[in-house]
């Protein structure tokens, strides 16, 4: 290693480190610039468009126009809630059972749960639609068996099924991670202290994996409430959710103002639910040792 000699003019250590600190703080300038330009400014544009009419005058009419979309909003929230609940009901036991397998099996299962996550959503949704369509494999099998076909595509059930199918891995993975971090000795201790299986589950396992549940719920709820591809394909264009409406307002009829208002409302809705979710996990977090 090369040897460095101290220069005579070196400033005293304290001010040198201060100088260095300023130099390093300046490293954040491009980043700050970027966030202001490409995150804050676009948000301001959403606000601007949401509160102006076509001529740029201030107005509340876009917000009041959203009245006609009340059912669309209710349906979107409902679908997202139901899909999240189903994902949780299916995913929680799945993650639990997965974490009880051998190390080797866990590794393979991990790859298997991550593969759909990495695989593009469009492809998976389309594959599901192709399978479930009236002329698809499922219904032609049913027909061959002499059973009634199931008209899934174009129904509410189809859209919810699509959400569950697409986002289930996002629920399982964080819960599974929390489960693997869970110290098995807690469970043994609870057994020793006289808990039965159910009590161990509700008093030890569930509270300790709640953080995984919270992030899983967030990761399913947010994309479900804002999706448009799933409802386009599995709802056959008949079941319009908030995402579809925003997409149409921007890409098909170019009424940006109402579209911006709708995006704004959706954003606020999600922020509120995220805050509530975080509150949940904080409350519980205070309890966990």
């Amino acid at each position: 290693m090369k040897k460095h000699s101290l220069r005579k003019t070196d400033p005293p250590p304290a001010s040198r480190s201060a100088q260095r600190n300023i130099f390093q703080q300046l490293a954040a300038v491009p980043h700050a610039f970027w966030t202001v330009l490409f995150i804050a400014a676009p948000m301001l544009f959403v606000l601007y468009f949401a509160f102006t009419d076509g001529n740029g005058n201030f107005s509340f009419s876009n917000i009041t126009d959203l009245g006609q979309y009340t059912n669309v909003f209710i349906l979107s929230i409902a679908f997202a809630l139901i899909a999240t609940a189903i994902c949780l009901i299916i995913g929680y036991p799945l993650a639990y059972f997965m974490s009880r397998q051998s190390q080797r099996a866990q590794k393979i299962l991990m790859v298997l749960i991550m593969l759909p996550m990495w695989c593009n959503l469009l492809i998976r949704t389309y594959a599901l639609m192709a399978l479930l369509d009236n002329g698809g494999l499922l219904n032609s099998l049913l027909k061959n068996l002499g059973l009634e076909p199931l008209p899934i595509v174009g129904s509410y059930f189809g859209v919810i099924l699509g959400m569950v199918y697409d986002f289930l891995p996002y629920m399982v993975l964080p819960i599974f991670t929390a489960m693997t971090k869970l110290d098995y000795r807690y469970i043994e201790a609870s057994h020793d202290l006289g808990c039965n299986g159910l009590q161990t589950m509700t008093r030890v396992v569930m509270p300790l994996t709640l953080s995984g549940v919270v992030s899983g719920v967030t990761m399913v709820f947010v994309p479900s409430i804002s999706t448009f591809y799933i409802s386009q394909k599995l709802g056959a264009g008949k079941i319009d959710l908030v995402g579809d409406t925003i997409e149409r307002l921007f890409q098909n009829v170019s009424t940006y103002n109402v579209g911006a208002a709708m995006s704004l409302v959706m954003m606020i809705l999600i922020l509120i639910s995220l805050t509530i979710m975080n509150k949940f996990s904080d409350e519980e977090g205070g309890m966990v040792p």
């Binding site: 460095h4 970027w34 966030t35 995150i39 676009p42 299962l109 469009l122 199918y165 940006y256 954003m267």
Partner: protein, 270 residues
Amino acid sequence: MKFLSKCYISLIFFLLYIPIVVLIVFSFNESGSLAEFSGFTLGWYEELFHDDEAFSALRNSLLLAISSAFIATVLGTFGALGLHRMRRRYIRKPIMTLTNIPMMNPDIVTGVSMMLLFVAVASFLGTRELFGFGTLLIAHVTFNLPYVILSVMPRFQQLDKSLSEAAQDLGCTPSKAFFKVELPEIIPGIVSALMMSFTLSLDDFVISHFVSSPNFQTLPLYVYNQTAHNVKFSMYALSALIVAVILVILLAVNFAGSAADRKSRKGGRS
């Protein structure tokens, strides 16, 4: 109980994989029907390899993913460094909040907001050529940034400050101390930020949908256009290939990982 839990796992994974498996199987179907398998063919793959549009989409996707991951990582790493050193909360806090917005927001809102910005800029400049690679790159860098910060920031927080001070006492200039002492510590964070951004960018459809123009199509946009029209079976072949590539990468990562684990364990013993 053990048996039941195995059954449950198998059932869920079976359901999760049927559509993908059916898609892959039927990409070899001669008749181009999804209802019955009539004969084996590689014809759809052959057609796919003659599809220039698919190939240019793949090329565009990779180009975009690499460049956006690189820019986001550089920008975010320096950003994390600056923010970490920043003592003034009233500057630090708002920047952090802003950075995290794309991570909290649904993709469609991020996409729409960026589209509004670009439309306004385009009409201000009076140009029609704004949308394309540039807008996509900006959008991808933007939604990658919070993830870069998320994986690099903790590395800075774990840094032992006295190490770099020691280096400086031993005669390093501050920048040299940074590159020699601190950078190696944060490199794993940078690498995982790169990987994360690369995958996120490769996978993104919703945001790209709003800020792209037809002259620069990425692979997800190509798939979207295909499924909006008369779907050719070469699309199934393409999907099957994508799944196969992802599977290979995942297995490789896992396999390499366990090999490395074994080696390190061996190393620990000797």
